[in-house]
Amino acid sequence: MRILLVEDDELLADGIVAALRQSGFVVNRVASGRQACTHMQAEAPDILLLDLGLPDMDGLDVLKFVRRKGFPTQVLILSARDSTEAKVKGLDFGADDYLTKPFARAELLARLRVLERRLGNASSALIEVGRLSLNTRQHEVSVDGESLQLSRREYMLLKALVENVGVIQTKESLEAKLYGWGDEVVSNAIEVHIHNLRKKLPENFIKTLRGIGYLVPKA
């Protein structure tokens, strides 16, 4: 995984570079928007870590450039701008994720793993939680190596839960992932799918938090 970090703050950039190298990423770092564009044209990285407040131009303009040129790069914005508007703007301009400063190293690495998975890298397309493994590229789920037959909605539901292992998913956020706008959602649809999934999964794999949502606990 080649990563290009665009960050003008020397100290922060050094810290991020060190963190990423420790985790086995190949990192290049530039300190300005212009350098970033030049670097992109010479060799497009898999992931672009982009700060918005750059000395020579706005990070969003770098993002526009990347998208206009059609580079197949995943972009993660790292910014101190934390308002909803700033996040929405960043994502609308074509960023794949948005992380506000300050952030924990663990969260940065976790988000990079998600982007890696989206890129379809074989090793990271596989999510393993306890006895269960889910391959996001082949849409295959297996328990102890034995594959399971799941409906499309059951698969999507399980993927949403295991992708966010240890994080509670509210009924509303699951509905949003399973159904598009305008789809008629039966009020207990999620409960029904969970019920069916549980019959196929190891016992207590999905935990219910009454009134709040569902959770796949960390193994």
Binding site: D9, L11, L12, D14, G15, I16, A18, A19, Q22, A80, D82, T84, T100, K101, P102, F103, A104, R105, A106, L108, G166, V167, I168, Q169, T170, K171, E172, S173, L209, R210, G211, I212, G213, L215, P217, K218
Partner: protein, 468 residues
């Protein structure tokens, strides 16, 4: 000068009084002169009258004792008694008395030459007119007491001046009332300023103000504008400073995390360093939140919010910490909506739940409840942690106040701003926050009751769609 109104009333009244007095004195002097002429004229007429009457009636017996034939009866009958006490003498060319009124002496009182003069006799000062009779054979001396004449003239003039004295209090009252009306705009402006809240720095409306006040209003508005700008600058400075701190804190945090990932797990200083950085980051975030939920930032951004959905989302966001401490969380509640600001409500919930997690032991329990009580949406956050002593229930909402100071027995990092954010958000929504002992045997219960809660069946809930 205590009061412009009183000052002006006194000044105006004094000016009017002095003016009237000068006019009255001038009028008095003028009137005296006029009345002098008037009286003199009257005396000449009297002489004419005497010319007609006396010589004719006495022509036959001029030689006889006229002096005796006229005396008292004539004067006593009042024939010659004018209101001003006119007396007369009639003498022949040699000055021998022909007739007289009663009070006159027997000799001619003045020199026999035509004209007016002042003469003293009978203990009084007299104004005497000496004139020859029509045939020139005798003289008339007509006398009038000078003091009586003066008194008469004076009383006539004073009759004209007195009304002015009565008019002064009436004028005073009218001036008082007129000034009251004239000074109304000042009073209104004062009231407008007095009724303002401390945070209201809107300019004064100056379209319908009198010219003199417009200047004042403009100066006041100018001051308000500068004040507003300096407040805004101060607020912006706090926000900018906190914002600018994020990048260096991010650098500290990542270096710290890098170090920690390679340091042995029992490195105490490493752990403390990490929690210090974390605390500093929290402090900066809390300052930014406090800044962002200031009343003037949120004005007009209220909308229908599904409070229950917000609670579920906030619980989901904290699932990492909950799992780390193996704490049980329960949420009981109907779908309750309120009118509010999404960001502010999230901050309130984040802080209440964050505190519950921080101050409850590992494997502790947390409960969040929502229900409608009458018109109020009541939110409860309850834990079985260390709680707060009852005598500090009020103080914990103060900025930077931490129970037990910085040596909190729970060893939890915090910055003392969480509950003041909760209080600010509550105040912004007109809600009431209360602390109470938890119903779980130990720990804290925080209750927030929002006015104007409504259920999902309410049309207002529909209008906002599924809610943000």
């Amino acid at each position: 000068m205590r009061s412009i109104r009183t000052f002006l009333v006194i000044m105006l009244l004094s000016v009017v009084t002095v003016g009237n007095f000068v006019a009255a004195v001038r009028g008095y002097l003028g009137s005296m002169e006029q009345s002098e002429q008037l009286f003199n004229e009257r005396m000449r007429h009297q002489i004419d009258l005497l010319n007609y009457s006396l010589p004719l009636s006495s022509a036959h017996d001029r030689s006889s004792q006229l002096a005796a034939s006229f005396p008292a009866p004539l004067s006593k009958s009042g024939l010659f008694k004018s209101p001003s006490g006119l007396e007369f003498q009639w003498v022949d060319r040699s000055g021998a008395l022909l007739a007289k009124s009663e009070l006159m002496p027997d000799q001619a009182v003045a020199e026999l030459a035509e004209g007016f003069r002042f003469v003293n006799f009978s203990n009084h000062r007299w104004h005497v007119l000496v004139a020859p009779s029509a045939d020139g054979a005798s003289w008339f001396l007509l006398a009038e007491r000078a003091d009586q004449r003066y008194l008469l003239a004076e009383s006539m003039i004073l009759q004209a001046v007195y009304p002015i004295l009565f008019a002064i209090p009436v004028m005073g009252l009218l001036i008082w009332l007129a000034l009251g009306i004239g000074l109304k705009p000042i009073e209104r402006m004062a009231q407008d300023l007095a009724q303002r809240k401390a945070t209201d720095l809107h300019p004064l409306p100056d379209q319908h103000m009198p010219r003199e006040l417009k200047q004042l209003a403009r100066s006041a508005n100018d001051l308000l504008r500068r004040l507003d700008a300096s407040f805004a600058r101060e607020t912006r400075f706090t926000a900018d400073a906190a914002h600018e701190l994020r990048t260096p804190i991010a650098a500290m945090q990542i270096h710290c995390d890098n170090l920690a990932s390679s340091a042995p797990h029992d490195a105490v200083s490493m752990r403390k360093l990490q929690s210090s950085v974390e605390r500093m980051g929290q402090l900066v975030e809390q300052i930014l939140i406090l800044n962002r939920i200031a009343p003037d930032q949120l004005k007009g951004s209220f909308q229908a919010l599904n409070l229950s959905l917000k609670v579920r989302q906030v619980i989901a966001e904290h699932s990492g910490e909950l799992a780390q401490k193996r704490q049980q969380i329960a949420f009981n509640g109907e779908e309750v909506w309120i009118m509010g600001d999404g960001f502010a409500i999230e901050s309130l919930l984040n802080n209440l739940l964050g505190n519950a997690i921080k101050y409850s032991p590992d494997a502790g329990s947390i409960e969040m409840n929502i229900w409608l009580r009458g018109d109020a949406a009541v939110l409860e956050v309850m834990d079985n942690g260390v709680g707060i002593p009852a005598d500090q229930y009020e103080r914990v909402f103060d900025r930077f106040y931490r129970v037990g100071g910085d040596r909190h027995e729970s060893q939890v990092t915090g910055c003392g701003l969480g509950l003041s954010i909760v209080k600010n958000v509550a105040e912004l929504h007109g809600a009431r926050v209360q602390c109470a002992p938890s119903r779980m045997g130990q720990g804290l219960l925080v209750m927030v009751s929002f006015p104007g809660g409504f259920s999902a069946l309410d049309p207002r809930a529909g209008k906002a769609g599924v809610g943000p």
